[in-house]
């Protein structure tokens, strides 16, 4: 048997009427390019995956539960039994971190995703349609932005009551307006370009112009906003919990742990520092991954 050539056959020139047509880059090629170009993004993806796995496998990874109190061992420093120490109720911090990550990861990602999609959709429609549609959507956004976001979140949470779903809803409602504004201004820039004029002259339908021309050119902006909204959401949730409107002890969330640990900052710093470090790690990971994705999706930087 003839051995396969080691290098890829790239020299083939395609002509109309050929049996075999050129193939587009598949998902794998894009992933491989991401891996090859941006080590930081790969490490970040691994970190995120690790956090997600830890959250899913929490009950298997620890002998304690997040609610077990042990008042004899309050505020004990890190030790072989309690790797990250215990809190003011003698609860194992590692266990609370693992269970808390379930809440915090969801709170970071879900509302950011929802507000990004909602904001982008409204922003693009607003910028593309103009006129009354634009005025209505933007005044609505102004209304949302006019209130301090914390106050708005408190009012919504107070009205709706606690619970994870309500936190999602609240954080999404608070964040969409900022996204919509930025995406709208991007849209206004894009619809003045010649390639959109060319599409209009060709007779391409409005919805297709929005999806094929405006949206892909907004994605880098959307990714940046998405990664910025993740830490903001985690922290807003912690403030809400602190005020008694979010997650309530003995349930755990990272934000809540940072906040309750503050009063012991001098006597037992690990209470706050460990969840803070986790928030920082996850935020950085999402930022780097977002950067890497924006790079790979940006045709200007591809194949150069």
């Amino acid at each position: 048997m003839i051995k396969k050539r080691a290098f890829p056959e790239k020299e083939k020139v395609f002509r109309p009427g050929d049996e075999q047509l050129p193939e587009p880059d598949g998902f794998r090629t894009v992933l491989r390019r991401l891996a090859g170009e941006n080590k930081l993004a790969v490490v970040s993806a691994a970190v995120i995956l690790l956090f997600v796995l830890a959250a899913v496998l929490a009950p298997v990874l620890t002998p304690y539960t997040e609610k077990d109190m042990d008042l004899r061992h309050r505020l004990s420093p890190p030790s072989p039994e309690h790797l990250f120490g215990t809190d003011e109720g003698g609860r194992d911090i590692l266990t609370r971190m693992l269970f808390g990550s379930r809440v915090s990861l969801l709170i970071g990602v879900v509302p950011s995703l929802v507000s990004m999609l909602l904001g982008a959709a409204l922003g693009i429609v607003s910028g593309y349609a103009g006129g009354k549609t634009d005025a209505v959507i933007m005044r609505l956004a102004d209304l949302m932005l006019a209130f301090p976001s914390m106050l708005l979140a408190m009012v919504i949470m107070y009205t709706l009551g606690g619970g994870l779903m309500n936190i999602f809803l609240t954080l999404s409602l608070v964040n969409w307006a900022g996204v919509a504004r930025v995406v709208r201004s991007e849209t206004l820039r894009i619809i003045k370009t010649e390639y959109v004029e060319a599409a209009r002259i060709t007779g391409v339908a409005g919805i297709r112009i929005m999806l094929c021309h405006v949206l892909p050119n907004c994605i880098p902006t959307m990714l940046v906003l998405f990664t910025l909204n993740i830490p903001a959401s985690i922290l807003t949730e912690s403030s809400l919990s602190f005020l008694g409107l979010g997650i309530q002890p003995p349930d755990a969330s990272w934000g809540l742990m940072v906040n309750t640990g503050r009063q012991f900052l001098y006597s037992a710093p690990w209470l706050s520092l460990i969840p803070s470090a986790a928030i920082m790690a996850i935020v950085l990971a999402f930022n780097f991954l977002g950067d890497g994705l924006a790079d790979v999706l940006d045709p200007y930087r591809k194949n150069q």
């Binding site: 002509r15 050129p22 587009p24 002259i201 060709t202 297709r208 094929c212 045709p299």
Partner: protein
């Protein structure tokens, strides 16, 4: 009934310019394209060439006036009626960097008109048609899934041309298609355009400020000044005996390689174009015209026609 394929009658376009002011971009211009010809539209920047070109294919609504395609009024059509004839018109843009979406592959760029007008059935057929078009404009087929930034300016313009001819249009408005290109590529693109016109029976409205380019490609020429057409006629006749003073100055201003044949600086036009916000009364050229008489500042010159030529001047030259 006129024999024109596409005809604009008394087209006027005014843009609001803040306050109570309006920009008179195009004023009462009539223009006709014969089937299969290339009509050159020349003029300084800002004289309304592109505005006129866009109005001719209903990419821009005229303030007043009408456009007829095969005797049917495009301007009177509803959007739905126009959708049925939209396929007949296309446009090629000046800037091959701005006119191609940077996030679309060559395939999706060229396939867009095919998909919009449902010309091919199925993905495979579309891809084959795209390859055929790429072959016709001289872009190798293995670049099918490349992005615009991976091409040179000339190659991109070829992609823009492939997109324009994909839906088999009858009229293409070429808005300065070669002015952003290197001189070395310019001729290739011009020749490509000429070839495509012959093989595909296209009609061009060729907008340019570059006289040598227009002379090279056009059968007839219209010269515009400040929103008005001052002269039109067969290319060679206009070059050999310009009738409007503006045309003659324009032709004299072309740089010449031979120093002995260079135009005396005193024979060149001085001054700026008057503002289109407040165009001069009478003939719009009279403020800069050395031949202008009293009447030029008062009365707008009527269109005089002889043979195939038309001129809007009280005192035409070479007659």
């Amino acid at each position: 009934m006129s024999g024109f394929l596409l005809e604009g009658k008394d087209l006027t376009k005014e843009f609001p310019a803040g306050g109570n002011k309006t920009v008179h971009a195009v004023s009462n211009v009539s223009l006709g394209l014969n089937e299969g010809e290339t009509l050159g539209l020349v003029g300084e920047s800002g004289c309304g060439k592109s505005t006129l070109g866009r109005m001719m294919i209903r990419a821009l609504k005229p303030t007043s006036g009408e456009v007829f395609f095969r005797g049917r009024s495009l301007t009177a059509m509803s959007d739905r009626e126009f959708a049925a004839v939209r396929r007949r018109f296309q446009m090629i843009f000046q800037d091959p960097y701005a006119s191609l979406n940077p996030r679309m592959t060559v395939r999706s760029l060229i396939a867009e008109p095919l998909e919009t007008h449902r010309i091919c059935s199925g993905k495979k057929e579309t891809t084959e048609k795209v390859l055929e078009l790429m072959d016709a404009v001289g872009v190798p087929g293995d670049f099918l899934y490349r992005y615009p930034h991976q091409f040179s300016g000339g190659q991109r313009q070829r992609i823009g041309i492939a997109r324009a001819i994909a839906q088999s249009p009858e009229v293409i408005v070429c808005d300065e298609p070669v002015s952003a290109l290197d001189v070395s590529v310019r001729n290739q693109i011009l020749n490509l355009l000429s070839d495509l016109r012959k093989t595909r029976g296209l009609t061009y409205l060729f907008i340019s400020h570059d006289l040598s380019v227009v002379r090279h490609i056009s059968d007839r020429v219209c010269v515009m000044f400040l929103g008005k057409i001052c002269e039109s006629g067969p290319t060679e006749e206009i070059w050999s005996s310009p009738a409007h003073p503006y045309t003659s100055f324009l032709l004299r201003a072309v740089p010449k390689a031979d120093p002995k044949r260079r135009t005396d600086a005193s024979a060149l036009l001085t001054g700026e174009i008057p503002s289109p916000i407040d165009p001069p009364a009478g003939c719009r050229f009279h403020t800069r015209c050395p031949y202008a008489g009293k009447i030029c500042a008062q009365e707008e010159p009527p269109l005089r026609t002889w043979g195939e030529r038309t001129v809007a001047c009280h005192f035409p030259l070479n007659r």
